[in-house]
């Protein structure tokens, strides 16, 4: 297969396609076509990250067909070809999976007489990387068996520290957003296992909470806001 021709055919087949990359897991970028508006994109980095996602996923799932990542400006659709190659298409959200398959078939037909052309039904071929040695999954923290703590009861109206704890939870939410509640309950559990829950040990809970906030400025604001409940 002539890589350049193959990618040029794909890119020319549909106006919604702004970029096409043929990436090989061993050799890197084999061919690329990027429209002017995405000339600043990094095809090599995109290719290596996509293949890393696929290898990582293959550790858990063995029947992956396609991957698609939606960004605010563009969609990145990824299909594996035989021989460790990946076709990565950057396109407008309107482009359907069916249209991509059609464009792929046309490009393959055009290069059918070339040596090493994959068969037209390659897109149905089972992925070879699924049998490869997979990348080590993210190292997980060892799970600690902790006794159950009824954190809901601790923040329920009338509970001794309810006012302070609800205030801390609200302040955490203003820093880290919608996941504050589950995070806060997890921290409450940790706090209860390490300390006797009381007004005196609240600073230790605050320390735990502050470790969940990334932005140093937000930590300062958080700390300033919650000082009143520590006194």
């Amino acid at each position: 297969m002539n890589h350049e021709t193959f990618i040029a055919d794909i890119a020319a087949s549909l106006p919604e396609i702004a970029g096409a990359i043929l990436f090989d897991t061993q050799s890197g970028v084999l061919a690329q076509h990027l429209e002017n508006e995405i000339q600043g994109y990094n095809p090599a980095a995109i290719g290596s990250k996509i293949t890393a996602i696929a290898k990582n996923a293959a550790g858990q799932i063995n029947d992956i067909t396609t991957m698609q990542i939606t960004f605010d400006t563009m969609v990145l659709s990824c299909r594996q070809l035989p021989g460790e190659q990946w076709l990565l298409l950057l396109h407008a959200p309107e482009l359907s999976a069916g249209m991509i398959t059609m464009a792929l078939q046309m490009a393959l037909s055009n290069s059918a007489n070339e040596e090493e052309t994959p068969s037209p039904d390659f897109y149905e071929t089972e992925s070879s990387w699924q049998e490869e040695e997979t990348e080590q999954p993210l190292e997980e923290e060892p799970e600690e068996e902790l006794a159950f703590v009824d954190t809901e009861a601790m923040i329920a109206p009338g509970a001794p520290l309810a006012k302070q704890l609800n205030f801390l939870q609200e302040e955490l939410a203003s820093c880290i957003g919608p996941v504050a509640m589950p995070v806060f309950h997890e921290l409450l559990t940790t706090w209860c296992h390490k300390h006797t829950p009381s007004a005196e040990t609240l600073p230790q809970l605050v320390d735990l909470i502050e470790q969940e906030i990334d932005d140093p400025e937000e930590i300062k604001t958080f700390h300033a806001n919650i000082l009143s409940i520590l006194s």
């Binding site: 995405i38 600043g40 994109y41 990094n42 980095a45 995109i46 990250k49 890393a52 996602i53 990582n56 996923a57 550790g59 858990q60 799932i61 029947d63 992956i64 067909t65 396609t66 991957m67 698609q68 990542i69 939606t70 960004f71 605010d72 400006t73 563009m74 990145l76 950057l90 999954p137 993210l138 190292e139 997980e140 923290e141 939870q169 609200e170 939410a173 880290i176 957003g177 919608p178 996941v179 504050a180 509640m181 589950p182 995070v183 309950h185 997890e186 990334d214």
Partner: protein, 110 residues
């Protein structure tokens, strides 16, 4: 503000099999199960790499990731700060409808 129960409510949406909240280090915040143990590393690993793709794509903001399986199931990953929300769909569901509903759910939380 979202609670763990709020996220679990996503599983009541037609077509959604599991909703799994994972920290970016792979730690699961949802209720532990065999399914969460299988999918959590995938959700965190995919989310982190999709986030980092932004720098290779002119600063484009990552909205969601979809992995299609031959079984018809989809794995969707949505970024939430230092967390990722993974959605496992039932086979042959209306994927875009589910994505729209999850996006709406997340908007209401913020």
């Amino acid at each position: 503000m979202a609670s763990a129960k709020d996220f679990a409510r996503l599983e009541q949406i037609n077509g959604i099999s599991h909703a799994i909240l994972v920290r970016n280090n792979g730690q699961v915040l949802s209720q532990a199960s065999d399914i969460t143990a299988v999918y959590a590393p995938l959700i965190a690993g995919s989310g982190i790499r999709c986030d980092s793709l932004s720098t290779d794509m002119g600063g484009s903001r990552y909205i969601h990731f979809c992995l299609e399986q031959e079984s018809g199931q989809n794995v969707l990953v949505f970024p939430l700060g230092q967390f990722y929300l993974g959605i496992i769909t039932h086979p042959n569901c209306e994927r875009q409808e589910i994505i729209d509903q999850v996006v709406l759910f997340l908007k209401h939380l913020k």
